[in-house]
Symmetry: C2
C-alpha cells in the first residue's frame, strides 16, 4: 500500500479532493475490458498539465508506478493497474484548448471523448477520421496511447496520422513538447509518433494537437452476402485492386453470422449466406453513385449471393443491422471473449481465415471472426468459459498457433488494440532482440525509474 507520506505528497500536489484511496474507488478503477482485476493503491484525478507534472514528480520521488487511464475501454490491459501502482485517470482533463478550423486543427486534453472531437469538427464542416468502435465513450488519450483506429482507417489512416504535436510529461517529471501545429514539419526527431502507440510507457500525454479533414458530404453503403469466407475475401482483394478506396470494408465470417441468427438480425440475409461484407464510400453527393458502381463491379464474382445498396440514413442503418448486432450476440456464446486484433497482408486473409477454422475445430473452440478486411485487420474472438480449465488451456494453444501463423504470413500481432499485458509474451515472436533492446533503451531515457505504466508492452 501507498505510504502515508506518499499519499500526503499526492494530496499536497493535487489537492486532497483529487486523490482517492478508498476501497470503492480503488475497486472501480481495477480493470479495463480485459477480465483481469488488480486494485490500484490510489486513483488520482489531475485537472491540468501542471497537475500531471506535479503528480509525476511525487511518483518519481517516492518510486510509485503510475497507470494512466482514459475510459478503461481498452482490450489488452493497457489501463489495468500494475500491482502497487496508482491510477492516473484523465477523465477530468477534458477541455478543448483550441479549435482552429482555418488551419484544420484542434488542441485537446487527453480526457476528451473521441466522438466529441468529431462532433466539434463537423460543426465547421470538418471531421476527425479515426473511429474506434468505442468512439462514443473512449477518450482521446487512450486512442493516442494505443494508436487506435476503426473502419475508416482503410481510407483515412489511424490515430497516428492525425496527430500534429503533443505536450507530455516524462517519467522524471520533465515537460516535453513534440511536433508542431502545421501539416508539414521535419525539425528534430519525430517524438510525436514515438509517443503515439507507446501505451503510456514513455510519457503521460497532457495535450494533443490533432489534424482535421473536410467532412465528406455523404456516405453510401453496400451490404454484400457471400456463400463462403473465401468468396468474400476474394472480393476484398478485388476491391483493393481498383481505384475507389472505400471508407469501410468490413468482414463477418460464417460463425459471426451464426451468432446473430438467434437475434433475428440475420433474417433478411439470403439462405446460404456464410460471409458478409459491409462496404462504404464517402465523398461528394454527386460522386457517390460513381464510387458505388465501381465498388459493386469489383464485388461481383464467384459466390456472391446478394448485394444491396443504401444511400439514405434509414437504408444505411437497416443494412448495418446484422453487423451492429454482432457485439451483443457473441456475448451469448460464452461469458468470456478473448479478442485478438491481428493483421495479415490482405492477399493472405482467405488462407488465414481457413487456418482459424482448422484451429477452432482442432481445439474444439467457438471462434468468431470479423474486422477491417481492407487493412487485413481481423478481430478473432475466442469465446470461452473462464472456469473451464481445459477449454482455457485449449484456447491458449489456439492463440499461440494463431499468432505464429499471423507472423508466418507476414502480419503483425495487433492492428489497433495494442500489446498491454495481454500480448506481451508474443512480442519476441515479432520483434527481434536487438530492436527490442533499442526500444527498452529508449524507454529508459524517458522513464529511468520505470514508473510509467509498468508491466505493459514489453515482455518480461
Amino acid at each position: 500500500m501507498l505510504s502515508e507520506r506518499a499519499l500526503a505528497a499526492f494530496r499536497s500536489a493535487l489537492g486532497a479532493e483529487r486523490v482517492f484511496d478508498d476501497a470503492a474507488t480503488r475497486a472501480l478503477y481495477a480493470q479495463d475490458e480485459t477480465p483481469r482485476h488488480v486494485e490500484p493503491d490510489a486513483v488520482l484525478f489531475p485537472t491540468s498539465h501542471n497537475d500531471v507534472v506535479a503528480l509525476v514528480r511525487v511518483a518519481s520521488e517516492h518510486r510509485i508506478g503510475l497507470t494512466p487511464r482514459g475510459a478503461g475501454s481498452g482490450n489488452v490491459g493497457g489501463a489495468l493497474p500494475s500491482p502497487g501502482s496508482v491510477v492516473v485517470s484523465f477523465e477530468c482533463m477534458r477541455r478543448v484548448l483550441d479549435f482552429d478550423p482555418d488551419n484544420r486543427l484542434i488542441v485537446v486534453e487527453p480526457g476528451v471523448v473521441t466522438e466529441e472531437i468529431d462532433r466539434i469538427a463537423r460543426g465547421a464542416g470538418l471531421f476527425y477520421p479515426p473511429d474506434p468502435g468505442s468512439g462514443a465513450y473512449c477518450r482521446i488519450g487512450g486512442n493516442l496511447a494505443m494508436n487506435a483506429a476503426g473502419p475508416r482507417a482503410i481510407k483515412y489512416g489511424v490515430t497516428r496520422d492525425f496527430v500534429l504535436g503533443l505536450r507530455g510529461v516524462t517519467g522524471s517529471g520533465q515537460e516535453i513538447r513534440t511536433g508542431c501545429r502545421t501539416t508539414k514539419g521535419v525539425t528534430g526527431y519525430d517524438l510525436t509518433r514515438l509517443l503515439v502507440g507507446s501505451e503510456g510507457t514513455l510519457a503521460l500525454i497532457t495535450e494533443a494537437t490533432l489534424k482535421l479533414l473536410p467532412a465528406p458530404q455523404a456516405v453510401a453503403t453496400l451490404r454484400v452476402c457471400f456463400a463462403s469466407n473465401r468468396a468474400a475475401l476474394d472480393a476484398v482483394s478485388r476491391v483493393m485492386h481498383q481505384d475507389v478506396t472505400p471508407c469501410a470494408l468490413e468482414f463477418m465470417d460464417h460463425r459471426a453470422i451464426d451468432a446473430i441468427r438467434p437475434t433475428g438480425a440475420a433474417n433478411d440475409l439470403p439462405p446460404g449466406t456464410r460471409a458478409l461484407l459491409m462496404v462504404e464510400a464517402d465523398g461528394a453527393i454527386q460522386d457517390l453513385p460513381r464510387q458505388i458502381a465501381a465498388l459493386e463491379k469489383s464485388l461481383v464474382g464467384d459466390g456472391l449471393l446478394d448485394m444491396r445498396s443504401g444511400f439514405t440514413r434509414d437504408d444505411i442503418t437497416l443494412l448495418w443491422t446484422a453487423r451492429k448486432s454482432l457485439s451483443q450476440a457473441v456475448k451469448q456464446i460464452a461469458p468470456l471473449k478473448i479478442n485478438e486484433d491481428v493483421v495479415v497482408p490482405v492477399s493472405q486473409l482467405a488462407d488465414f481465415v481457413d487456418f482459424i477454422d482448422h484451429t477452432a475445430a482442432a481445439q474444439r473452440l467457438a471462434v468468431v471472426s470479423f474486422g477491417h478486411a481492407g487493412n487485413g485487420n481481423l478481430h478473432v474472438n475466442l469465446m470461452v468459459h473462464p472456469d473451464d480449465e481445459d477449454e482455457m488451456a485449449r484456447a491458449h494453444i489456439a492463440l499461440e498457433a494463431l499468432m505464429r501463423r499471423v507472423l508466418e504470413l507476414g502480419g503483425t500481432l495487433s492492428g489497433e488494440h495494442g500489446i498491454g499485458t495481454e500480448k506481451r509474451r508474443f512480442v519476441p515472436l515479432e520483434i527481434d532482440p536487438a530492436t527490442l533492446d533499442i526500444m527498452r533503451a529508449i524507454k529508459q531515457q524517458f522513464d529511468p525509474h520505470g514508473l510509467l505504466n509498468p508491466g505493459k508492452l514489453f515482455p518480461d
Copy 2:
C-alpha cells in the same frame, strides 16, 4: 586522414573495389546542393545490407564518422561530409527487393531513385505519392532521411506516411527491423517514424517497405493569376475551407513572377499579375469536372485577374510553364540561393509574406518566395553574392528574423528539407532544452560513439 589500418579494414570488409580514397572521388563527394565543400577521407559503395553492417562495424572499431549519401541533392548539408568522416554512398544499392501490388507495397534499397518507385507502381495501376522536386534523380534513402515531400503532400501526405517498415544498421553495427508489411500495426514503439526524418543520425537504412495507393486516373490543372500576394493567399484560405482537397496548391509571389519575365515565361500572364497559384485536382476522369468547378468557385474573390483550366496533357504542360521556369530563372538574380523551406499555419501565410517583403526591403535583399501553400510551406530564397560580405551579413540578419517570425506565427523551421548543417543554430528557437535532451539521449542509444552523420540536426 584515414589510417592505413582503417582503410585496409574497410577494403577487407567491402572488397577493395568498393573503397575509394583517391583525390578525384573525394572531391566528387565533397558537397551536396549547399555551397559548402568538405572532402571526406574516403567514399564507400556498399552493395548490400550485409556490406552496411560490415562497414559500420569497421567504423565503430576505428571510431570513424560516416556521412550517408543518396544523390547529394539535399538543400541543408545533410550529405555534406563532416571533417574526417567517410561518405557511405548508397547509389549501388538500388534493387527493388519485392513489388507486391496485391498488398499495395514495394520493398526497395535506399539507392533506388524516387521516380523509379512511382514508375514501377504505375505499371500495376498504383502510385507512390511523395513527389519531391528532385524526384527524377534523388534517391529514396535521402527522402527517408529527410522525410521529403512535394506538391502532392497537401492531399496525400509526406514520405513518413508511406513507410510501413524499415531495415537498418545502428551506429554500433546492430541490425534492426522496424514496422511491418501491413497498413496497420501497433506492436512496440514506432521506430519506423523515429528513423524517418532522423537525417541518418540514428541508423543507416538498408531497406524500406513503402505503401502504394491506387493511381488517380487523371489530373486537371488551374493556373490562377492575382493582383497581389494577399489576394492569392486569401484564395488559398478559401480553398482550404471547402471540401475538395487539391493534389497541388502552389504559390509564386510577385518577385518570382518578376524573375521569370526575362525568360518569356510570364508573357501570357495578364498585366498586373503579382501572384500566381497553381491548383491541381486528381481522381476519376468523370469526377474531375466537379472537383475543378468547386475549386474554381473557391478561388474567385478580390484581386483575381485570370483563371485558366487544363484537362489534357498539353494544356496542363502549358499552364505549368511559368512555374517550371522559375528554378532556372532565379539563378540569374544572383549566384547563390539561400533556400529556406519554412512552414507557417495557412491562415498566417499572407502576413508572413508581408513580413518577408518588409525584411527584404529593410536588408536590401532580393528574396523570391514560392511553395506549397496548402501546407503553409514556403520556399523563401535569398539570392545573394557569396563574395559580398556586407550582403551576406544582411542575409544572415534577415534569415534570423524570418526564423523568429515563423516560430512566433506558430510555424516550424523546415517542412521538407530538414535541418542538416544549415539550420542547426536555429533548432533551439523551436525545440525546448528538455525535449532536445531527450532527442540527444535517443541518439546516444542508437549511436553511442556519435559516428552516424556527425555534425547534423543537433545544435552544437
